[in-house]
Each structure stands twice: as C-alpha cells, then as structure tokens.
C-alpha cells in the first residue's frame, strides 16, 4: 500500500475534513449510548468500504477514489471520513426526535447534503466518475443507504426499549 501518488488538493481536502468531522464528533455533547455510537461509526465506515470495493472497483468500476486505482493510505483515511457521518445521521435523528411524519424530509435533507458533499469531493478530485457513472445514480445510493440506516436505528431503539420492559 502506498501513502499517496502525489500529495495535492485531494489529500489536503481529506485531511482537513477528517480534522473537522472528528473535532465535531468529540465536541458535540454525547446524547446516544456509547455502544450505539460505536456501532454507527463502524456502520458509516462499512458502507463506504462496501460501495467503493463493489461498484467503485472490480467488474463495475464506476468511480475512482483519489489518485489511482491502487489502494492508497489516503483511501483508507477517506473511509474513516465516512464513519462520523453514520454517527451524525443517528445523532440528529435522536436529537430532532424524528418520527414517521418527519423521516421522509430527514432522509431527503441528508440526501441533498450527501450530493453536495459529493459535488465538493469531485471538485477536490477525491472522486472521479468512470464508465458512464453520473451523480444521478448517487441519488439512489443515498436514498437506499439512509432509509436502511433509519430503519435499522429504529429497530435497535425498539429492541432496547423492549428489553428494558
């Protein structure tokens, strides 16, 4: 594994974003149980890894992360960048008391935010589309992932409430 092919704006962007999102993670008051926080950090990392190594590589190869198709250290750091987003999705879900009426707007809001971040990532050359991929396909990815995350979080909360009796 190489560190990076050339140290330029994509590496700087990833490192700056890492500092911002992890600073936010530590600064924000802790509102959700420790084990659920840990779970959704890993959830965010796993989703990024899954998509990059499934539709971003292999037979489909719809996009390239950072400078090359080779596995760089900066790619690994990029996946770590996604971990706090998994956490913040459930954090604000909890803080804003999202219910059945609000959930559609909540998911649409995060999808718009995701598309905006993807646009910035393309500008900063972290993501490079390949083989006919375009941003409209990311809408489907964001909607599926965020709906699944919301449903899973609801399931966990119900299970925990049931266990408490």
């Amino acid at each position: 594994m190489m560190l990076w092919e050339s140290f330029d704006k994509n590496e700087i962007y990833v490192l700056v974003m890492l500092i911002i999102v992890y600073a936010a993670f530590f600064i924000f008051p802790k509102r959700i149980p420790r084990q659920i926080a840990l779970l959704f950090l890993v959830w965010g990392f796993a989703i990024a890894t899954f998509f990059d190594f499934t539709i971003g590589g292999g037979l489909m190869d719809f996009y390239k992360v950072n400078d090359s198709d080779k596995y760089e250290l900066i790619d690994l750091l990029t996946y770590f960048l996604f971990a706090p987003f998994g956490y913040f999705f459930v954090y604000f879900y909890h803080c804003f008391k999202i219910n059945q009426k609000k959930v559609i707007f909540y998911i649409l809001g995060w999808t718009l935010f995701g598309l905006l971040m993807e646009r910035v990532s393309r500008f900063m050359e972290v993501i490079h589309y390949e083989n006919g991929y375009s941003m409209k396909y990311s809408v489907a990815v964001f909607l599926v992932v965020q709906t699944m995350t919301a449903l899973y979080y609801e399931w966990i909360v119900r299970q925990q409430n049931k266990n408490r009796g």
Partner: protein, 157 residues
C-alpha cells in the same frame, strides 16, 4: 452453476442465522458482522487486486458469487460461530466451534476454485485456513469491544 451454488449457500447461512438462538444482542451481532465485513472486503481486495495472489473471474454471475461469499457468507458464518461458541465457557468447546468454522470457510474457498470463480496463483488453502482462523479471533475481539462498551453504559445508569 457457480452462482446458483453460492446463492444457495448464502440463503442457507442467512436462514440458519435467522432461526438459531442468538446469544448476542442485535447491536453486538451487527457490530461483529460489520467488523468482519470490513476486514473480509479489504483482505479479498488486497490479495486479488493489489498483490495478485489470486485471480478472480471476469464473468458477471460467477463474480457475483464471489461478492456473496466475501460480503455475506464469511461474516454471517462467523456470527453463527460466535453465537454458538459463547454459549459455553469451556475452552475446548470454543476451540471446536472455531475450528469447525475455519474448516467450513476453507471448504467454501475450495469450492470457489473448483467452480472457477477464483484461481490461486501464489496462494493456497493453507493460507486460507490461517486467514480464517485469524478472522475468528477478530470476531472474538470485536465482540469483547462492543460488550465492554455495553457494560460501561450499564455502569453509568
């Protein structure tokens, strides 16, 4: 043929996990699943695409079988192993269950080569067995981490 066999195995493993008595909570099971899922995806990518130790087929359906194996069969089988092994405190029991999981996963990898999903160039089933043994230990480690995080919550309240 390769796809059908691996699709059946995926269905079987998920069904066994769904109906079995689970000793771990939903959060613990999900956490361990995700950790194994991340390690499995990264490891399979590194040995095939980076180090070229194995060659994965370029045909779509057999390639999908490889994705099912990497992303579902390996992590869910290790979850089954973990849920069975924590049922008893005996070291012998845990060792037997872990070795059975290593054996089953190595047989699944043998099937991948026999069905031409993967070709081993500088790799062999012995390395697979060592990798699966270490992956079992990663599952146990992940379980102890999430269990400790849960205990801390209990202590606070």
């Amino acid at each position: 043929m390769a796809f059908s066999i691996f699709f059946f195995l995926t269905w079987l493993i998920i069904s066994i996990f769904a109906v079995m008595r689970k000793r771990l909570s939903l959060v613990e099971n999900t956490f361990v699943f995700l950790i194994i899922f991340i390690v499995s995806i990264n490891f399979s990518w590194i040995i095939s695409d980076e180090l070229k130790l194995i060659t994965i087929t370029k045909e779509k359906l057999p390639y999908t079988a490889y994705l099912l194996h990497r992303s579902i069969i390996i992590p869910v089988l290790l979850l089954i192993q973990l849920n069975i092994s924590v049922a008893r405190d005996s070291f012998g029991w845990k060792a037997i269950i872990i070795l059975s999981a290593v054996l089953l996963l190595t047989v699944a990898n043998y099937l991948m080569t026999a069905l031409n999903i993967a070709a081993y160039t500088n790799w062999n089933l012995g390395f697979d067995a060592i990798y699966f043994f270490l992956l079992n230990l990663v599952a146990l480690l992940a379980y102890s981490i999430i269990e400790r995080a849960s205990e801390k919550v209990v202590n606070h309240t």
